[in-house]
Amino acid sequence: MANYTTIIGLEVHVQLLTNTKLFCSCPNRFNPDNPNVQTCPVCLGLPGALPVLNREAFKLSLKTAMALNLELARFTKWDRKQYYYPDLPKGYQTSQFDLPFSSKGYVEFDMPSGELKRVRLIRAHLEEDAGKNIHDESGRGADSQVDLNRAGTPLLEIVSEPDIRSAEEARLYLEEMRLLLLTIGVSDCNMQEGSLRCDANVNLHIHENGETIPTPIVEIKNLNSFRFLEAAIEYEVKRQLGQWEKERKRLGDVDAPKTTRGYDPDRGVTVLQRGKEGAADYRYFPCPDLVPVVVSEEELAAIRATLVEFPSARRRRYCDQLGLSAYDAQVIVNQGNEFAAYYDAVVAICGDGKLAANWTTQDVLRQTNDRRETLAQFPVTAEILGTLLSKVAKNELTIKAARDVFAALLAEADEEKPISKERIDAIVTEKGLATISDTGAIDAVINAVVARNEKAAADVRAGKQQALGPLVGQVMKELKGADAKVVRQMLIDKLSS
């Protein structure tokens, strides 16, 4: 089999989270069950209607560009991209051609190997989404239906360099992109509803006899889940390799134009889309109905001031300042902004990053999953957990005791009792969970237990370490708040003296 490198570039399409469409005041809302109720003369493309740019959509675009390390253009404009399709009522898409609002950026993410991967971005531009065509699947050739509810929705197109080298990398890239967009709140990124979708440009670099031969580029259109993205690329790589071995066509050969394929998830294959061969002639030109936008430094500063910490910076902070492992940092940050904010709040109170990481990634995640609750619904707030963990950090509670308090708090919440950080001390008292640091008290219990268990004590004295456990257990049973480690050491000290 040929030695090859997979070359992938992604075009990600993101619908922006605005109240209204990009160029008119119709609501921007996913509404497939009620077709053609979110239209007006502008988004229907009626004769005489004119577009006016949505300020919020442009702001969200700038915000996104900042998160993607893109350079922002001081001057940007809109162009018309001409093609005919029933879901495109004006016969052109208002988009950006030669002067997009941003260019040259990058996205970084961690590979499972631990290596940091950087994918460069060519540009991001703002355009309008098309409507939706619904095809008759019966095979009887009935009319297609056109719904224009979506027509004119603000859409960012984010185009990467072909820096991606595998299906897995493509998925990780898109996951990181989604996390970023969710973190800064510019899109709901709902892939099922099409708020986030992407096209993948895939080809191979065949390494043969010291030469690198690029194969023709295939664009896989409209991938709307991480699974489909990964599966489609994996399939496409195998298919292209087979094609190469059969036909040996190279990129640029006259009989090997760029082709467009769709992914059929039922069959797990990509399918050639007819009629899309060759370069289309979109006849871009500046839209005469829209005026340019000149971006000022003040506006950029105002938007920058609203930015939250980006995921990559947050992971770095967790590792560098809180001493988390790369893995833990990834787990926390990749849960999304809400979760990481919860974590941050816990750390702020308890002061121990690792302790907070263990609890949030294990206890909290497990509980929210089991209870099918969002963090906002979860009764143990960051304040309560932080307070609880601060007691652990100060050795006022053992881990085990803290778990008991945690469970008790949840149980009380389930009984619809109000819980708060003040309940922690009450529970500790009620259940006698406080760590007993009074060694005199411990000593007394140890003496009593040793007296009752002459045989076991003798075994320990004779060097049978396994006899120590039951003794520790008995002491702990009587002294609920004691630290097992302390008890163990005191027993050893006693029996070896």
């Binding site: 004769p47 209607a49 006016v52 740019l53 009522p89 016969g91 056109v146 030109f285 829209l290």
Partner: protein
């Protein structure tokens, strides 16, 4: 003599002192009924709606409300201006059944001011032409001589005012489509500065050039109508947000120290001798009124037609892409698949001139030709504008013929599109540069056809332009002439 023979100010006064809007509207409708068969200015009169609107204005006046001076005056609208609930056809088969669900911005303004919309007028299909012959419902005739064209593309509106079907009308001007028919029909036509009047609801031909403007029997009428339609509209991104002068109040104030520019490029080959003579006479009229005449040059004006047809057709090819038989407009009955449906619908729905311009524009924007044609045209456009900017440092208005000839005969030019295009030589530059321009009657040819005089001004100088035009009008009697009304 018909009431419409009055000057606009007299008409306003009559309405303010007892004459009802209903009777005025009825007399316009009667005139249309009895005489429009010969002229064909209208695609469709709006009789019932107009009378109802007129009755409502009369009621408001009788109740003592203070109304706009335009209240009660009937107005004809070019049929590329959208009217809610009333078909807006652009004189195209493509839109013969199209009923807009909304009013154009100018229509809203007119309704608010109490103007009476009495009908939709004929045009060259989608405003593409200079003769109103390219209409799916047939040509409009010049009221001065029905063998002749009224000019275009707003020929129906110009003819409606000239034939006294309506005292006022709206047209649109992309390359001279208000001024040239005004000159052919012996009426006043004003193209405002680009961005002065909202284009919202004007069916686009070439968006960066289109502007709605008034027709009237005199300059005062143009001022009256301009005041109502001008001003910022947040629904048109290219509409300019700056104050609009009250031209109706100032139009009769003569300008002192007026500087009138005369460009040598406006008196070149192809200029009809009678038109030239009338224009030279107009220069003398201004001189006699105390104006200073300044010779100047607009060196890039000879490229205006080439620039215009590339830009206008490129934009048109895009603006007309929406007519595909999917969401509105004509759909062919027979087709083999979806693409063929598009192609057949467009082939059936569009007339020859529209197809020609869509073809030219598509070509100019297509891969490999964009830089040589479209982009080049945009650059020369800037040079044309620069010429005007320099000229308006020295003069207040630039005087020229409106058209190199009086009205040509129906059919005379239709075989040679290029020849027809070249006749737009004097009007086109104002659109490319975004300037306001006006055509006022300034003479009659020996064969009894009107000759128009064009004045151009710097952007947003409509007030000065109207006052300068009114000075000429008051000093001559050309605006007071009317065609003989038969039948």
């Amino acid at each position: 003599m018909s009431t419409l023979m009055e000057s606009t100010r007299e008409l306003v006064q009559r309405l303010q002192s007892g004459e009802t809007a209903v009777s005025l509207t009825q007399s316009c409708l009667n005139a249309i009924t009895s005489r429009d068969a010969a002229i064909h200015a209208f695609v469709r009169p709006i009789a019932d709606g107009a009378l109802a609107d007129a009755a409502s204005v009369d009621g408001r006046r009788q109740a003592g409300e203070t109304l706009s001076p335009i209240a009660g005056i009937p107005i004809a609208l070019k049929d590329n201006i959208c009217t809610q609930g009333v078909a807006t056809t652009c004189s195209s088969r493509m839109l013969e059944d199209f009923i807009p669900p909304y009013d154009a911005h100018v229509v809203t303004r007119l309704r608010e001011a109490g103007a009476i919309i009495i009908g939709k007028t004929n045009l060259d299909e989608f405003a593409m032409g200079s003769s109103t012959e390219n209409s799916a419902i047939g040509p409009t005739r010049n009221p001065w001589n029905t063998a002749h064209a009224p000019g275009g593309s707003s020929g129906g509106s110009a003819a409606a005012v000239a034939a006294q079907f309506a005292p006022l009308a709206l047209g649109s001007d992309t390359g001279g489509s208000i001024r040239q028919p005004a000159s052919f029909c012996g009426v006043v036509g004003l193209k405002p500065t680009y961005g002065r009047v909202s284009r919202y609801g004007l069916v686009a031909y070439a968006s960066s050039l289109d502007q709605i403007g008034p027709f009237a029997r005199d300059v005062e009428g143009a001022a009256l109508l301009f005041d109502v339609i001008a001003g910022h509209d947040e629904r048109d991104s290219t509409s300019v947000n700056r104050p609009v002068p009250k031209c109706w109040d100032t139009v009769n104030q003569p300008l002192t120290g007026l500087r009138v520019g005369v460009a040598k490029e406006h008196f070149g080959a192809g200029l009809d001798t009678e038109v030239e003579a009338a224009t030279r006479k107009a220069i003398e009229v201004y001189r006699s009124l105390g104006a200073t005449i300044v010779d100047l040059s607009l060196p890039h004006s000879k490229y205006a037609i080439a620039v215009y047809y590339l830009i206008a057709c490129s934009e048109a090819s895009s603006n007309l892409a929406r007519y595909d038989g999917v969401h509105y407009g004509h759909r062919a009955e027979k087709f083999s698949n979806m693409i063929d449906m598009y192609k057949a619908s467009r082939a059936e729905g569009f007339g020859a001139e529209v197809k020609r311009r869509v073809m030219l524009g598509t070509y100019a924007l297509s891969s490999g030709y964009y830089d040589a044609y479209y982009l080049k045209a945009l650059k020369v456009r800037r040079l044309i504008r620069n010429d005007f900017d320099a000229a308006f440092e020295k003069v207040d208005v630039i005087l020229s013929p409106t058209s190199p000839m009086p009205a040509f005969k129906v059919g005379e030019m239709s075989d040679d599109p290029l020849k027809m295009y070249l006749a737009d030589i004097y009007t086109i530059s104002a659109n490319l540069a975004g300037l306001p321009g006006i055509s006022v009657p300034a003479g009659m040819s020996s064969s009894g056809l009107p000759i128009g005089l064009q004045l151009l001004a710097a952007p947003f100088e409509e007030e000065r332009l109207l006052r300068a035009a009114r000075m000429f009008e008051n000093a001559t009697d050309w605006s007071r002439r009317s065609p003989e009304l038969n039948h």
